[in-house]
Structure formats: structure tokens, C-alpha cells
């Protein structure tokens, strides 16, 4: 069975890159444009792993992660934070919000896949 990845990113460029990378690696990919949509999509998507950006309109990555972790059904899903932020403070916040791991943009396709493999069975 294909693993299902939910990606949440407001940038069309990054969404497309994620889509191409993940599809090529044999993942099923579902996409959302911001945290609010991410939580909506999550309800029916049942992903194996979530990859999310931090800076997004409406609901940012921190809020989105907190939302997922508060959700009784989906709180155990591994969440990888995909962001250009390289300073420790933001990663720390993401971690406190409940992120499982992180990937620094611009992402290297193999590293992205590795990180996903790492947090999923």
C-alpha cells in the first residue's frame, strides 16, 4: 500500500516540487495551502505523515501542528516541518507545538524521502 503524505504549504512552487518529489518516490500525495485547509483536508485524508510549512496565511505551521495534536483521531501522525527557517528558536517552537522532525528548505529530494521514511513504519 502506498504511504499517504499530506503536504501543507502556501507556496505553489513548493507544493509542486513536493508533489513531484513525493509522487516519484511512490507516495500518495494530498495537498493543502494553509493550516486551516490542512486541518480540513486531514479529516478525510488519513495520511501516514504530514509535511508542513511554517509561514502560512490564515493558520501558520505552529497552529496547524497544535491543531493536529489536539485532534483525538490524528494526533499520533508524524509531522515534519518544512521550512527555510534555520534558527533554533523557530525549530524549538515547532517542536514544542508537536512537530516530529524537520526538513530545511530548499530540500534535497532524497533527504525529504529519508526523513519521511524515518518517521513512518
Amino acid at each position: 500500500m502506498k504511504k499517504k503524505v499530506l503536504t501543507v504549504d502556501d507556496s505553489r512552487t513548493i507544493r509542486n516540487m513536493l508533489l513531484v518529489t513525493l509522487n516519484n518516490a511512490g507516495f500518495e500525495t494530498i495537498q493543502a495551502e494553509d493550516g486551516v485547509e490542512g486541518l480540513e483536508v486531514l479529516e478525510n485524508a488519513n495520511p501516514d505523515v504530514i509535511v508542513t510549512d511554517i509561514n502560512m496565511p490564515r493558520l501558520d505551521g505552529f497552529g496547524f501542528i497544535e491543531g493536529v495534536r489536539r485532534n483525538e483521531k490524528y494526533r499520533a501522525i508524524p509531522i515534519l516541518v518544512l521550512t527555510t527557517e534555520s534558527d533554533a528558536e523557530k525549530k524549538n517552537r515547532a517542536r514544542q507545538a508537536g512537530a516530529t522532525g524537520w526538513i530545511v528548505k530548499p530540500f534535497d529530494p532524497t533527504k525529504l524521502i529519508d526523513a519521511i521514511e524515518r518517521v513512518t513504519a
Partner: protein
């Protein structure tokens, strides 16, 4: 989709982000302190940086990075976005746009400028941020001749917060053939580790992939089942792994988890391993670690590398251990699985909605469609005409069908035109930049106010609008506005205002550019015109006529030629490019209060609704938008005025009568008004005129065929069209004809025609 397509998308997105950035900064400049505005601005730069990084656009990345760092200071309230700060930021936005364009189209940017701005931005970020908590941005060295790409590097001192150095196969360390260290790991997860989606069994799997591993599970703290909290972490592991990747390799496995567990990693000697595991840790039970359940395909190496020693009585413990660690997930997932089937369908639906409500279409395709629809309209008109000519009773079903066809064609055409309609916002935003640049060069303080940015007009019009508008804005700031000191002395706000407005008016778009500067210096203009032999020294000109002199070729009233003038482009060129768009430009100026330029342009350059008329045997089309009413003049209503002028009295007011045939030189003598039809038109310059034509043939939608593109500009004629019977008809430029009827402009237009 390949990378090139994604890159294309990236640049499209950049444009949107840049627009967002600029409008956000302008909002901040106007005193907006909404955190969401700041966020939006930050996100725009952030997104550009993120995408640029993915495509290795290093110049763009390094500039965006510095910009972003400074914006982050604003976002975290460490830097007050004062006017001065925003000035730097707006300039930075311009440079970012330049860099984006350079990355897309090649070409170069003003490096000195971007270097200066990088320095200014850094000064803002550093100088005004006293706390060192803000991780100082890795400084992208100003790029001079050194082509070495400067990419941000993840800070090294981030408490080990290294971005995924983890990779299973690609380590290129010294092949340690002779010595492979054994690493001992004490790993005790906390509850949080599971809560964040990490999983002990996965971590152990990853460790096992590093090399020969043995693992012992400490289950002492596991309470009886009835007292067990399914979300608590009760187990700890002692792992020893022999790997040539050493301590660091093992540590990297725990990268995501190290805050949420007690972790001790150390390298030990071969013989010590035995000691530790066998002797010291008496309560520990060796736990066989079977990872095959994790590898669905069974192809992964994990299973094979496991320690072979398995104590049979430990089997039960294994099951217990795995159950416990998986409890939290199992609980959550049980519910999901039930819904799994239903969710697949709705997920697809959801992602479809996510795709958004717009599609991006190649402009060529739309243009092609428009051309085809244009041909369709002509064809439909020809068909109708030939049916009408051949069908005498006029009630046949063919006729009814044709009427429907006409309606459908019309609707198709409107829909297609709507596709091309775009708000003028992008052009207006570009003007903001122009204003900034000129204000900088001239040392004037200028505020640009834009209104009606969402007014839509055909894309072609928008594209062609930018150039004349830029020039007019330059003029308004350079020539129109006074220097701040002078303004202050005059009791004006030292900051000049330029107002750019767009609105729809009777089927056209009207763009107004108003400044609150000195207004036209009529004495100076007049003198200059005399000096340049444009007018006779004793010419008696009205204020309006003097103002209009600035549209003459080669006219410049600036005392000295500044950086901005001397480009060889004058208002005459502006006027001509507006005319080429089927538009009209006029000026009204009040000394000391400023000037207003008003441009009126058609909404589309493709079709227009026209009244088909006959003048001296010629078929002409008069744009319907210009016509107020038509009337049949009666002899008593016609009054002579002066030598050749005539007026018509309509409902107790007089209106000049304009003989179209005479103005266009279709005939040598004036026609008899009583034999013709008068079209009451409203022209841009204001005021009504009655255009005399011989007869009205009908009302029709016509497809505009440019005369300039195929022939040359003809004064008084806006364009041509093909009628239903295949004949070519000229479309009347009502404003030009009205202006010509006033006399003065006529000479100008005719001389223009003679030289053109």
C-alpha cells in the same frame, strides 16, 4: 510536470508575491500596523527565498535572506517600521523584483544598489536590535566580482539542531576497515516522544540499519495492566551497535527525538560491551528485536542484520513491549481505519477543491480565441446579411435561428473579452516604484495615492498603458511638484501628492493623474512655444490652448534638463501612444494647485458597438458609447454663427453642428443639415456636439482592425472594420473630429498627418 514548469510557476508566484510585498509595505507606510500585514510581507519574501533556494538562484536567495531577517525584526516588534525604515524596504522590494527578473530573463541588476541596500538592511536588523537572541543572519557577502555563491548555511551552534544530516547510504567518511567502533546507547523515551509522533521502534529500526546491533529492553517500570496509562512511556532500552558511522551516526538517528528522551550515547571498547551488557545489567533481559514487521516488502536490510541470539522465553516480553509502545498509536488509528475506505474518495475531493478557483492559461491561447471570435462575429454578420437579402418575408425559421446565433455570438464574445479583462493594479503598482525612484533622484518628497486599482480593462490596454503612464508620472513629479522647501514656503504640505485614479465611465476606462504641484506655468509655456516657433508671438490663445501646447513635439519647460528629461520622450509621444490605443488625453491645470491629466481609453481593443452611418457616400462607424442621441434636424433649429459655423438648438440649448464629411474632407462644401441626421455626441473635452451625417444604416457590433498596424494613423479615424457585406468601413474618432471642429487642433492633426 518537470522542473522547468515548476520554475515557470515559481516566477509567476514571485510576481504575485512581489505585488503582495509592495502593497503590504505601502500599507505599513500608511500607518497600518496590523500584524497580519507584516506577516504577509514577511511571507512574500520568505516564499521567494524558499523557491529561489530550490532553484539555486543564489543572488536572489542571499538578498531575500537579508531582507527577510530585517522583516523578521519588524515582525517580532524589534524594529519599528518608521517611514525611514519603510523607505529602505520599498527600495529593497524593487531590487528583489529586479533580481527576480534577472533570474528569469537573464540580464544584470544594479549591483552597487543591491549592495547598498544589503548594508542598509543589515544595519536596520543589527543596529536597532539590541538583543543577541535574534540569531544573526549569516551574512551573505556583498556580491562583487566574486562569483562564489553565498548560500545561507544552517547555523552550526544550534545546539546540534542540524538539518537532517541523516542519510543511510551516502556517508563518505574514511572507510574504517580495520576499526569499527561499538556505540553504547541508553535510551529512555519520555511520554512526549510518542506524543510528537516519534516512535521508539522506528528509532531502534534506524539504529539497527547502522550496523550490528543488540538491544535490551528494561520493562521494570511497566505497571500492571489495570494501572497502565496507555500514553505513558514505561520502557527504556540499552542498545549496543557496531557501526563505522560511530557516535555521530547514532546520534543523528535520535536527531528528532533527543529532547524527548533521556539519551546517553558513548563509544566503548569491544570487550567492555560484553561486560556491560552481561554482568552489570542483571535485571535486563535480552530482547530479540524483530523489525521485519516494519518492512512491508521485506527488502530492507534491517531484518537480516539482527542479532541471532534469541531467548525463547523472551518472546512474550517482546510482544508486550511492542504492544505498549504502540498503544497510543493503535488507539488513535483504530478509529481511522474504520473510515479508511470512505476517506479516500473525499480526500480526492478535498484536494481538488484545494487546487483553487483559477486556472492559468497561456496568453497566446486567449488571443487566438479572441481572434477566432472576431472572425466569427464578422462571419455571423455576413451570414445574417445574406439571409436578409435573400429572404423577403423575413419571418422564416432561418431568421429566428440567426437571431439566436447573433445572441450567442455576442455572449461568447463578451465572455472571451472578460477573460482578457485585468485589473489595472499591476500597472499602478509599478507606478509606485517609479514615483519612489524619481522622488529619490529629484530629492522631492512624494506620496502616491492610487484609487480604483481593481478597475478592469483589456490586457492589451494595460500593457500599453505602462509606458505613457510612467512618463506622465515622471513629468508630474519632476516638473509638476515643487521642491519641499518651496512647498513649505507656499504653505503647502512639503510632501507632494500624486493621485492616480481609474474608473469606468460610459464603456470606457478613465484614468486620471493629478498632482498638487505648481500647475502649468502658462507664461513659460507660451514663451517656449514662441521660441520654438510653435506659435506666433502675437497668437491669442486661451488658457486651455496654452496648456495643450505641452503635447507638441519636443516641448520641455524644465529650466535645466534633469536625469529624467533628456530622454527624448515628450508629452507628444504620450499623447500619440494614448491615441494609438483609441484613447484621448486632456489636461486641466490651475496655477499653484496642480494639474490633472485625464486619459480615456476603450475597455477593449477588439470590438466595439457602433452606429453604421453614411457620409458623402462613405460608410463610417461611430462608436455607440460616444452617441447620446440621434435626431433629425429641422430647418428652424439650425442657426448660422460666424462665417461657417452653425449651431443647432436642442431643447432650448445651442450645440455646435459638426459636418463630418467636411472635416474629413469627403466633400468640399457643407452639407445641408436638414437632409441629414445629427448624432449628438459627448466628447472627452466636455460639452456636446452634433455630428452631421447623411444617413444611419444601423447599429452593429464591429471587430476593430487597427489602421496603425496595417497602414498608418489617419487623423479623425480611430480604426477600420469589416462589415457584414465584406466591405471595409472606417471607425470615426469622435473626439478627434470634435477637436478638429474647434479649429486649432485641426491644423495640428493635419500637419501631423502630413509628416506621418
Amino acid at each position: 510536470m518537470d522542473m522547468n514548469e515548476i520554475k515557470e510557476i515559481f516566477f509567476q508566484e514571485c510576481e504575485e508575491q512581489l505585488a503582495e510585498l509592495e502593497s503590504g509595505l505601502l500599507k505599513l507606510n500608511d500607518g497600518d500596523r496590523d500584524p497580519e500585514t507584516v506577516n504577509a510581507v514577511f511571507r512574500a519574501v520568505h516564499s521567494i527565498k524558499g523557491g529561489a533556494g530550490a532553484f539555486g538562484l543564489d543572488d536572489l536567495v542571499s538578498f531575500a535572506h537579508v531582507f527577510e531577517t530585517t522583516l523578521d525584526c519588524v515582525r517580532s516588534n524589534k524594529l519599528e517600521p518608521t517611514q525611514d525604515v519603510l523607505k529602505v524596504m520599498l527600495k529593497s522590494a524593487d531590487v528583489l523584483a529586479d533580481l527576480t527578473n534577472a533570474a528569469r530573463d537573464g540580464g544584470s541588476v544594479d549591483e552597487a544598489r543591491s549592495r547598498t541596500l544589503i548594508r542598509e538592511l543589515e544595519a536596520l536588523a543589527h543596529g536597532e536590535v539590541p538583543t543577541a537572541a535574534e540569531a544573526p543572519a549569516p551574512k551573505p557577502a556583498p556580491k562583487a566580482a566574486a562569483p562564489a555563491p553565498v548560500i545561507e548555511k544552517p547555523p552550526v551552534n544550534d545546539e546540534g539542531f542540524q538539518p537532517i544530516p541523516f542519510s543511510f547510504g551516502d556517508f563518505d567518511e574514511e572507510p574504517a576497515a580495520h576499526y569499527v567502533p561499538t556505540v553504547q546507547v541508553d535510551f529512555k523515551p519520555k511520554k512526549d516522544l510518542y506524543a510528537k509522533g516519534n516512535e521508539a521502534v522506528l528509532l531502534l529500526r534506524d539504529v539497527s540499519r547502522l550496523g550490528e546491533m543488540s538491544v535490551y529492553c528494561d520493562m521494570d517500570s511497566l505497571p500492571p495492566l489495570d494501572k497502565m496509562d496507555p500514553e505513558e512511556a514505561y520502557f527504556s532500552w540499552k542498545i549496543s551497535v557496531t557501526t563505522d558511522r560511530g557516535e555521530d551516526g547514532v546520534r543523528s538517528v535520535f536527531e528528532f527525538a533527543e529532547w524527548d528522551c533521556d539519551l546517553d550515547i558513548r563509544t566503548i571498547e569491544e570487550d567492555v560491551v560484553g561486560e556491560v551488557t552481561d554482568d552489570e545489567e542483571l535485571p535486563m533481559q535480552p530482547v530479540p528485536f524483530d523489525l521485519s514487521m516494519l518492512d512491508e516488502s521485506g527488502s530492507a536490510a534491517g531484518g537480516e542484520d539482527e542479532p541471532a541470539v534469541v531467548e525463547s522465553d523472551a518472546a512474550a516480553a517482546v510482544a508486550a513491549a511492542e504492544t505498549a509502545t504502540k498503544v497510543s498509536q493503535a488507539a488513535g488509528r483504530a478509529a481511522e481505519n474504520a473510515k479508511a475506505a470512505a476517506s479516500a474518495a473525499s480526500a480526492a475531493q478535498a484536494s481538488q477543491t484545494a487546487a483553487g478557483q483559477t486556472i492559468r492559461v497561456d496568453l497566446d491561447r486567449v488571443d487566438r480565441l479572441i481572434n477566432l471570435v472576431g472572425e466569427l462575429v464578422i462571419n455571423q454578420a455576413m451570414l445574417s446579411q445574406s439571409v436578409v437579402e435573400n429572404d423577403t418575408n423575413g419571418t422564416s425559421s432561418i431568421n429566428m435561428g440567426l437571431e439566436e446565433l447573433q445572441q450567442l455570438t455576442r455572449e461568447i464574445q463578451d465572455s472571451v473579452m472578460a477573460i482578457r479583462a485585468q485589473p489595472v493594479k499591476p500597472v499602478f503598482q509599478r507606478m509606485a516604484r517609479t514615483v519612489r525612484e524619481i522622488a529619490d533622484i529629484t530629492g522631492k518628497s512624494v506620496r502616491l495615492i492610487t484609487e480604483g486599482e481593481n478597475t478592469e480593462v483589456d490586457k492589451t490596454v494595460i500593457d500599453k498603458l505602462a509606458e505613457p503612464l510612467t512618463h506622465m508620472i515622471r513629468n508630474a513629479v519632476d516638473h509638476g511638484l515643487e521642491m519641499p522647501e518651496k512647498r513649505e514656503a507656499l504653505g503647502k504640505n512639503p510632501e507632494g501628492t500624486v493621485r492616480l485614479t481609474a474608473k469606468h465611465r460610459s464603456g470606457r476606462i478613465v484614468i486620471e493623474l493629478a498632482d498638487d504641484g505648481a500647475g502649468i506655468n502658462r507664461e513659460k509655456v507660451r514663451q517656449k512655444a514662441i521660441d520654438n516657433d510653435l506659435i506666433a508671438a502675437d497668437a491669442n490663445l486661451s488658457d486651455e490652448e496654452i496648456d495643450n501646447l505641452i503635447f507638441h513635439a519636443g516641448f520641455s519647460t524644465a529650466d535645466k534638463v534633469s536625469d529624467l528629461s533628456g530622454r527624448g520622450v515628450g508629452m507628444d509621444v504620450v499623447k500619440r501612444s494614448i491615441q494609438a490605443l483609441g484613447g484621448r488625453i486632456s489636461i486641466s491645470s490651475k496655477p499653484g494647485q496642480g494639474s490633472v491629466f485625464t486619459m480615456s481609453l476603450p475597455l477593449t481593443l477588439a470590438v466595439l458597438d457602433g452606429m453604421v452611418v453614411t457620409v458623402a457616400g462613405q460608410t463610417l462607424v461611430v462608436p455607440l458609447t460616444a452617441i447620446v442621441e440621434t435626431l433629425q434636424p429641422e430647418a428652424p433649429a439650425i442657426h448660422s454663427f460666424g462665417a461657417s459655423q452653425r449651431l443647432i438648438s436642442i431643447r432650448n440649448s445651442f450645440c455646435p453642428l459638426v459636418d463630418v464629411g467636411r472635416i474629413l474632407n469627403f466633400r468640399a462644401t457643407q452639407a445641408n443639415p436638414i437632409e441629414g441626421v445629427a448624432l449628438l455626441v459627448e466628447s472627452e473635452g466636455g460639452g456636446q456636439r452634433a455630428l452631421m451625417v447623411d444617413a444611419i444604416q444601423g447599429q452593429r457590433q464591429v471587430v476593430i482592425k487597427s489602421l496603425e498596424a496595417n497602414y498608418t494613423h489617419v487623423p479623425g479615424i480611430a480604426a477600420a472594420t469589416i462589415l457584414g457585406d465584406g466591405r471595409v468601413a472606417l471607425i470615426l474618432d469622435v473626439d478627434a473630429v470634435v477637436a478638429a471642429s474647434r479649429g486649432q487642433s485641426l491644423k495640428q492633426d493635419i500637419s501631423l498627418a502630413a509628416t506621418g
